[in-house]
Symmetry: C2
Subunit: 135 residues, 2 copies
């Protein structure tokens, strides 16, 4: 993604543009990806070496609030950021950390319980955990 495209995307989202944010957008949103905060940090460092880890972490939280990315909780070790914010599910291989999207057309959750009064649905996560076949 070009710098001007990333800049435009930030403006549309109502986020003040800075060089770091542009680079974080480019790292996260150029292609569909699943990246940890530290992976984003490493990528951004390649273009802007004087970027701090704290800025990357804070910016990803900001992007999440603005719905530019989604946080995935699939691994106890680290949070993963997903560039795809539309409803979909995941297939996860803990052995190699590989995360694959499963579209919401393909897979459906039926029989959703009615929520107790006062509660509001936020989202439904489905994680299909797999491992390399042993036997």
């Amino acid at each position: 993604m070009s710098i001007s495209q990333a800049t435009e995307l930030l403006r549309t989202a109502g986020i003040p543009v800075t060089q770091q944010r542009v680079e974080i957008v480019r790292a996260m949103l150029s292609f569909p990806t699943h990246l940890s905060a530290d992976q984003v940090f490493a990528r951004v460092r390649q273009s802007v070496p004087e970027t701090s880890r704290a800025t990357v972490y804070n910016t990803l939280k900001l992007f999440r609030e603005k719905k530019l990315v989604r946080e995935l909780i699939v691994d106890p070790e680290r949070l993963v950021y997903d560039s795809n914010t539309s409803p979909h599910y995941h297939l996860y291989n803990a052995e190699n950390g590989q995360l694959t999207d499963v579209s919401a057309d393909e897979l459906q959750v039926i029989g959703m319980p009615s929520l107790p009064p006062g509660l509001q649905l936020e989202e439904v996560d489905v994680i299909i955990r797999v491992r390399t076949r042993s036997g």
Copy 2:
């Protein structure tokens, strides 16, 4: 759960019996519960104050391997241990940490993708994330 019941349970699972393990079984498996490692630690401390945090953490990992408990990854802050190891799903309120079981009879996942060759299904997690109604 009585000490002798917990002891029997450990024997059946093929786990050498120790006082700490008996107390961890009693804390985790007397009733259906969802507890963090530290919550288990706090409970065990009440009966056996000279128990160390490391022992609780290690023992819970051991119990997971032996399928006495299940690890739930619902919150990036901490791991939660579930006393219910049979297939079921969860409703989670991040605001207060409350976790509720949803039975597999009630809720079903349909359209499971066929796994790439060499991969084996381990489990399917469904987490219904809710929050207190704002509007």
